[in-house]
């Protein structure tokens, strides 16, 4: 594709601005350019979201901030008083009054914010009875439940003003936590694990691949056999097995390490570090062979090139050849594989945390949130599952689009491998 559009148009002009050259790539590379750039845009947005998470997230991701199971876009409160009520005309008048709410709902949080005294009830019907009986001065209830219950009391109760208070754009989960905030913070865990594990894989896979391809012989054969075996094994299953074992043993290891350094960690910190380490290592092992195979293949191909022959005949030492002549030519492919690999790692991490082998709760983690939301799917509460899943797709797509588009641009034949 790249070749064809190059034939049809363009002469290369060096005197052209960087930005103009960037956009000229669209003509030069065609569809691949659009794929790469949209991938890059997604990634930039995601990274910004990760960095700015505390500013973007409307609520604390691990705290209950509203009614459980609030549907997306809902959560606003209606103020209800007795018809003969005179003093309460607007929400601000609630300060100091006794407000009836259902326990652990948005209403309770709202009432506390308005400096009202709160009387909690377990059932919403009890709230209405209490108001009608004069036990409380006012009620704060969700707008979607108010009309049906009000009608039973005829004109003995009235609603004051329009609905007000917080709305939850993506709804809340079973513990009343804001899903939007959890999604925004969840990107941190997922990206951390995915990038760390891809880094570890590259750290092992690239040097072994370089050496194996360069040295050849028995070492090459043994390493290839081992890596090919790992590669042929279903990655997720391998990761599951490793995570299952490591999860239990990492704690012992961490305890020894922190004990030796003299560091003291709280229980929560230990759990988070253990979880991160476990998933990272499990995923890293699974994707090591990808780097190894690719680098080794490239080294084997480059070794045949004339300029390597020339360097060797000029008396360059093997290590010089490897690091100055071969390695720079492999870097581009490593970047591509790295990006595609992160996409895979994200999906594997999501899979691991879906079956409960990821980070410990309450840490926001998309896969885990989906597995929790799954229990409430049958009751029609779809939002707990849908939104974290969409985020996983978006991030994985960003990395794979960036990687694959780049690979077509850098080397049109690599994609076929």
């Amino acid at each position: 594709m790249a070749i064809q559009s190059a034939e049809t148009s363009l002469t290369f002009d060096e005197n052209i601005g960087l930005i103009a050259r960037f956009f000229r790539g669209a003509k030069w590379y065609g569809a691949e350019w659009y794929i790469t750039v949209s991938g890059a845009v997604i990634l930039i947005l995601i990274f910004l979201m990760t960095i700015l998470a505390p500013h973007l997230a409307p609520y604390d991701p691990v705290k209950s901030v509203g009614s459980p199971f609030t549907p997306p876009g809902k959560g606003r409160q209606v103020l209800i008083v007795r018809s003969d009520e005179e003093t309460i005309q607007q929400p601000a008048d609630l300060a100091g009054t006794l407000v009836g709410v259902r326990a652990n709902t948005t209403g309770q949080f709202c009432a506390l914010e308005l400096n009202a005294k709160v009387k909690k009830f377990y059932k919403i019907e009890e709230c209405f009875e209490a108001l009608a009986a004069g036990q409380v001065d006012a009620l704060l209830v969700e707008e979607n439940v108010a009309p049906a219950l009000m009608s039973a009391y005829g004109d003995r109760l009235k609603q004051i003003g329009a609905p007000f208070g917080p709305t939850f754009v993506l709804g809340t989960d079973n513990l009343g936590r804001d899903i939007l905030s959890r999604i925004i913070f969840g990107a941190r865990a997922v990206l951390l694990v995915a990038i760390l594990s891809a880094g570890f894989s590259a750290l092992v896979g690239v040097p072994t691949g370089l050496l194996s391809g360069f040295i050849g012989g028995t070492i090459d054969r043994v390493l290839s056999l081992i890596m090919d075996s790992i590669y042929s094994f279903p990655g997720l299953i391998l990761a599951i097995a490793m995570a299952a074992v490591l999860q239990l043993q990492m704690q012992q290891v961490l305890k020894n390490v922190t004990g030796a350094v003299g560091l003291r960690l709280s229980g929560d910190q230990t759990a988070v570090i253990t979880g991160t380490m476990t998933t990272t290592v499990a995923i890293a092992v699974v994707y090591m062979p990808t780097f190894f195979r690719m680098v080794r293949g490239q080294v084997l191909a480059i070794k045949q090139q004339l300029y390597i022959e020339a360097a060797r005949s000029l008396g360059a030492r093997p290590l010089t050849i490897l690091f100055q002549y071969i390695f720079p030519n492999v870097i581009a492919s490593i970047v591509v594989i790295f990006s595609v690999n992160i996409a895979d790692a994200i999906l594997t991490e999501a899979g691991l945390s879906f079956i409960g082998l990821g980070l410990p709760p309450p840490t926001p983690d998309w896969g885990y949130d989906i597995s929790k939301g799954r229990q409430f799917l049958a009751a029609g509460q779809w939002w707990m599952v849908t939104f974290p899943g969409l985020m996983i797709i978006l991030v994985a797509m960003g990395f794979s689009m960036f990687g694959e588009g780049l690979s077509e641009i850098l080397n049109p034949r690599l994609a076929e491998v």
Partner: protein, 476 residues
Amino acid sequence: MGSSLRAHILTRLLMTVPMVLILVTLVFVILRVMPGDPALAMLRETASEEQLRNLRHALGLDKPVLFNFRGSTAIAKETANLYEKPKTDSRILRPIEKEEKLRITGWTSEEGWLWLAATEQVQGWVRVKDLRIGLRERLFSTARAASETDIYADTAGSKVVEHLSAGETIKRVRVEGDWAEVITTRQTEGWAPSERFEIRINPFDSQYFIYLWNLLHGDLGTSMTQRRPVLSEIADRFPATVELAVGGMIVTMLIGVSTGAFAAQKRRSPLDYGLRIFSIIIYSVPIFWLGLVLQMILGVRLGWLPVAGRIGPEIAPRQITGLYVLDSLLTGNATSLVSSIKYLIMPSLTLGLYLSGIFTRLTRSNMLDVLRQDYIVAARARGIPERVVVYKHALKNAFIPILTMMGLQFALLLAGAVLTETTFSWPGLGNMLVRRIYDRDFSTIQGTIVVFAFLVAGVSLLVDIIYAYIDPRIRY
């Protein structure tokens, strides 16, 4: 031709051996050699030292990992006693005669003392009615005592050799009419002073080689939580996984191959790009989420298909193959056929859709290769309609590489199946694996993963052989 094919198959078989060995070793390394103690992990932190020791011993974890230079058997140089504790004033468990052979089990040896096991196998006759011989257990020729009974020296029941308590496992059984000849594996273990023994060293009496040896015998160990052989646990679930995999494969072929061929035919059209974007998106979709969304739409909202499980509660067909759809057909059970297909649709669709992205791309590139061939040009030149050229001439020839791809994607299929099974509570291997992880049942985890490794190696072998059959150029 036949001999070269046979030679090819033989070479390929030989190549499979190191691959399987490495995979199996990999599983061993992951589960046993990793830092930390599996026994401690299984029993959690509250376990006592005694419990830990017992479990380690039961799992064989107290043996050396790779090679055993500690000694594996001991032969008594003179008569000795087997003591309960490494002290001569402790209870004597059993006298040892001169020249008697005992096993040194992995337990730590104390100063001047050895932990030994007398390997006595009691042989004799038992009434068949006192035994419980399961179908699957008969396969391994093992049985369990149904009730408390005695083992007799002969079928006349004249002399009692040994007492058998209810539920006890018997190692070998040979049934002869009303009587069965049984061999139990009761072993006495205890301490004995080491200077009285001539110690034989068998370097292969280690965790790793025992593991390999057991695998070679089809022994995957015993599930610690279920108290039955891991292999029979796996055999129970295997058909469900096969059924799901086949269903998923059918969906993948239907969707992936047709869209791939379509994209190749309409190359560089908006449709081609659309399908390419589809394949990128579908590859980025977590399979469990795809399953949940399908559940949400088809199961909960529309109520067309059941959300989880394998078949309706009351209508499982008589088991023949364990594949419910096939069993229903074989027994002519229409209700269970409808039910099992209904339950199968959504998981298969999930798995199939997930894999179809890759297949679309691979089929497309293969089709493009084929469409460039001379005979396609010739066919077009002869005025054969484009549709016939693409879907008959080209697709048929693109099928061989597609078959190979199926073999390569099998690992992905298995990985996808694990999550699909978890999502749909499908009672297959993957679902079992995940459950046993919660139970910390390491023998089952290990067994299941080994089975997956064998599956991968087996399928890749099978695909290669089929490939060689179809395409004679492969046989070199």
